[in-house]
Subunit: 254 residues, 2 copies
């Protein structure tokens, strides 16, 4: 891909007013023409969900900013198929910068990753950016990384049907590592509360306890102070298991 | 896994009152002790989303049935970590039977698949069942298949960290095929409408045009009248691309 002024679509799952997307937009203005279509409010944990059971509202803020009352996936499909006219079809989609990491299995719950996944499915290369959680968020370093990675993706292109899930550690990164998705050690913790009418309600949370010790993972990279770049795709198939299950074909009655 | 009366957790994304889950429960009663924790209303397209921004309500209907005002992922994590006491910890989770197929990339949007994915992440083997869309739904054949596949999964176990995404064709199946996830040929179609106050709203839909012609896919299997069984996992990594991107490590400025 080699275009003079590439068009970049931005989305996120923290909502259009979050600091992370503001920092990302500022950083990418030097790389291309930026258009932002993002959820009107926070959508964390939205995963790759698509709003099918109700209509959606689009609100144009100015000539480069729109909000959607839906998920990051809704935003990307509406941006590409409705909001941006054909002459403004984006060359690339960047999602984030998320307030908090999207590492290991958590990538499957992430609205940030899903934004980049949706654009990839629609033929627009996608990158998802997340900053590892800290007491406060300083997007300076992650914005610099995003700018360089997006510029590189525009110049070199990405592997077919592949998005990049980028996680930036706290502080100054030591470098970049291309990684695979790891596994977290975590236990869901459901907390129980009573509302003013005495009725019970529940919040889903979790207790973290590090990650599986395995070389080359996203967890390991950020733990050691590196930016983690994981190439991902929409294929959930466990390919080696196809062979393992081959003998399942027989013995069924119809 | 070899237990006398295995415990089976059921969920879905069409809601607890849908025909598909009623048929699945009936079929699995012969295989094990069945407990149902399902969304109170339809959650199609929910993907692997987890409700983090608001509390959830659990309603017990009887000693084997509960509803949650959330997604299939919420249902599974609440069932395993809160609703079922340790002595009723499930041996297996079955999700569905979905009204409509979950083939190709659509698996990544599917709440049905996500229910089985969530249980797998939590260490409980999961199977997702979907019946290919027709004018009307007859769950007779798909319920028979589900019964046999669940019995087999209980007897043989599933490959590590792996769920099965099962799609049943219309009519009488010719057999079972172990498949990989395919790619659809589809174009999103966004329809525009005006509400009674004259304001615009949008629905996300799509125009289908078959699937990528490639051997061994889920699409091909059901198209040829076979039950498609795709082994899936939560790892989104495009492993071959890790090598392709290796040289991306250099040339970044921090």
């Amino acid at each position: 891909m080699n275009v003079e002024k590439p068009r970049i679509l931005l989305t996120n799952d923290d909502g259009i007013h979050s600091e992370g997307i503001v920092a990302l937009e500022k950083a990418l203005r030097d790389v291309g023409d930026v258009f932002v279509v993002a959820p009107v409010s926070e959508m964390s944990g939205a995963s790759h969900s698509l709003t099918l059971s109700r209509p959606l509202r689009i609100r144009q803020i100015d000539e480069r900013h729109w909000t959607v009352d839906g998920t990051p996936t809704d935003c990307v499909t509406l941006a590409i198929n409705r909001i941006l006219p054909p002459e403004l079809h984006p060359h690339l989609c960047a999602s984030g910068i998320n307030h908090g990491e999207n590492l290991g299995d958590d990538a499957t719950y992430s609205g940030t990753v899903a934004g980049a996944l949706e654009s990839t499915i629609l033929g627009v290369p996608g990158l998802a950016f997340s900053l590892v959680a800290g007491r406060s968020y300083d997007f300076t370093e992650s914005a610099k990384i995003a700018e360089q990675l997006v510029a590189k993706a525009i110049k070199n292109g990405l592997p077919k049907d592949t998005l990049l899930n980028v996680n930036v550690p706290k502080g100054k990164p030591k470098g970049i590592r291309i990684t695979k998705q790891g596994f977290k050690n975590a236990r869901p913790v459901i907390s129980e509360h009573r509302d003013p009418r005495g009725k019970l309600y529940y919040w889903i949370g979790e207790e973290r306890n590090g990650f599986h010790a395995e070389g080359g993972t996203d967890f390991e990279a950020v733990d050691e102070g590196f930016v983690s770049v994981t190439p991902m795709r929409s294929d959930l198939t466990n390919h080696p298991a196809i062979k393992t299950l081959k003998d399942w074909n027989d013995s069924f009655k119809f």
